[in-house]
């Protein structure tokens, strides 16, 4: 009988010690499990992204090298997501530009869930008729935001030195219009301005098929080249009255960060290219 008392005492004491040890390790374990959960959300978001989003936004989210389901190359109609102005800082540059009052995470998840009516960005959440459940929207959002954690994108070494843009287009190098179509595709212009050869294809911004003619007459006193130059660099410089889905938004929803991603040569090439687009509808 005594042995049972001893065994019982030892067993209870062991339970006590073991629980105590478990409690000591618990805060660290909670942290690890939280990280594991977030990591797994990003993993699942990656699967969803590649199945649904990469076709328009690119496999690396940079809006380049888009491929359709058959494996054929196509132009990337989505905006770049793996992109410092969208993901770096709270609020990031893009959030400030559109006047978003809530967090970066909410901006991304809301855009994924509700889409952008009037653009090619569809609604994804089942709440709005799309295919994804709430947790799937959260997973895609986690994946996109994870690009923003990359020190090479948002870290101190990653600050992109903006080109010191001259006031006049004439101070840019000589432009080569032949580079235009490639630059147009890579920089996501098609997403809002459509295909220059196809008049009805612009969804958000004005169609640019005739910009070569229109630019010269849009604003009196400003040359066509200068008009195009300023419009790319500062979308709020000249807001056109009519856009495909109604009056154009003020302030403009066009990206204001081309000054960070284009080189002077790129800009000159684009200007030269646009001047060649003269097919009046």
């Amino acid at each position: 009988m005594q042995i049972k008392v001893v065994i019982g005492t030892i067993a209870f004491m062991l339970v006590m010690v073991i629980l105590g040890v478990a409690a000591l390790f618990e805060p660290a374990r909670l942290g690890e499990t939280t990280d594991a959960f977030v990591g797994r959300q990003v993993e699942k978001g990656a699967v969803l992204f590649h199945e649904n989003c990469a076709e328009c936004h690119g496999a690396e989210g940079k809006a380049i090298d888009c491929v359709d389901f058959a494996g054929e190359e196509k132009s990337c109609v989505g905006l770049p997501l793996n992109h410092a102005p969208l993901l770096c800082g709270e609020p990031s540059q893009r959030l400030q530009q559109v006047g978003w009052q809530s967090s970066k995470a909410n901006y991304v998840s809301q855009t994924v869930a509700a889409g952008r009516p009037g653009t090619l960005m569809p609604t994804w959440s089942q709440d709005f008729g799309g295919p994804m459940e709430d947790y799937q929207v959260d997973q895609v959002t986690a994946f996109v935001l994870n690009w923003g954690e990359d020190p090479e994108l948002c870290g101190e070494e990653a600050i992109v030195e903006a080109v010191d843009w001259p006031d006049s287009w004439e101070d840019l190098p000589q432009g080569d219009a032949a580079n235009g179509p490639g630059l147009y595709q890579i920089n996501g212009c098609a997403g809002c301005h459509g295909d220059p050869d196809n008049p009805g294809s612009a969804a958000v911004g004005p169609h640019l098929g005739n910009i070569g003619n229109v630019a010269a007459t849009r604003v009196p006193g400003i040359s066509a080249e200068q008009y195009i130059y300023e419009s790319i660099l500062n979308p709020n410089a000249f807001i056109v009255p009519e856009c495909p889905s109604g009056p154009c938004a003020e302030p403009s929803v066009m990206r204001a960060d081309y000054g960070f991603v284009l080189s002077e040569q790129d800009m000159a090439d684009l200007i030269a290219y646009y001047l060649t687009l003269t097919s009046a509808p």
Binding site: V5, V6, T9, F12, M16
Partner: protein
């Protein structure tokens, strides 16, 4: 059977072992209860009321300007200075004040019986609709039935890498004092899990306002 161990009242070894067992069960029960309470106490994440909220400096009002409303966190953000003339209709030097300078996060619940008071712009003060308690911009009570000044949450100033630069300290009245924000403050962090009751100073309605 067991030999009697040396003890005044004839404790046998067997009986003694039972008592040891009983003691171990008692200690285990205590430990288990403690762990259970730890298990059951709710924890709040960042962004949930009960946890911390991190806001950019752009929400900070100008000195002595009307407060910034943050409903999710159930607090007002105020920026006060009772020694200057600007905004003296909202914040002024009154007897018992001392120097009040800096920012505070004030709990939106009235200290009387728990209603949510409102900021009334026309009267430049907080007023509670339930029983008429009135408070100054920094939360000091103007009119009864407020039993004490408004309660405050702990406020921390963070730099752009979210390192803590400064945090609110507890004053003589037991409540958090206003926090003077260091120049390189990029973010404000309000810990809604850490709340201190407001102090009880004399009602401001006893004294004339000293706004010229």
């Amino acid at each position: 059977m067991a030999e009697a161990t040396v003890s005044a009242d004839g404790l046998t070894r067997r009986e003694f072992l039972y008592y040891i067992w009983g003691a171990s069960i008692a200690v285990l029960t205590l430990e288990f209860t403690g762990l259970l309470i730890w298990f059951m106490l709710p924890r709040f994440r960042e962004g949930e009321f009960g946890g911390t909220f991190t806001l950019g400096m752009d929400v900070m009002p100008e000195v002595n300007e009307p407060p910034f409303n943050f409903p999710d966190g159930r607090f007002w953000l105020v920026n006060v200075n009772n020694s200057i003339e600007i905004g003296c209709e909202r914040m002024w030097m009154a007897p018992g004040d001392g120097d009040i300078l800096g920012a505070a996060a004030i709990y939106k619940v009235c200290t009387h019986l728990g209603c949510i008071y409102a900021w009334v712009d026309a009267n430049n003060r907080f007023e509670c609709p339930c029983h008429g308690s009135k408070y100054r911009l920094d939360g000091r009570r103007i009119e009864a039935p407020a039993p004490r000044n408004l309660d405050r949450f702990k406020l921390l100033a963070l730099d752009e890498n979210e390192n803590v630069l400064a945090e609110s300290e507890i004053g003589n009245d037991g409540s958090y004092e206003t926090l003077q924000l260091p120049p390189n403050t990029a973010f404000l962090q309000i810990d809604t899990g850490d709340r201190k009751d407001g102090g009880s100073q004399a009602l401001l309605s006893n004294f004339p306002k000293n706004c010229p």
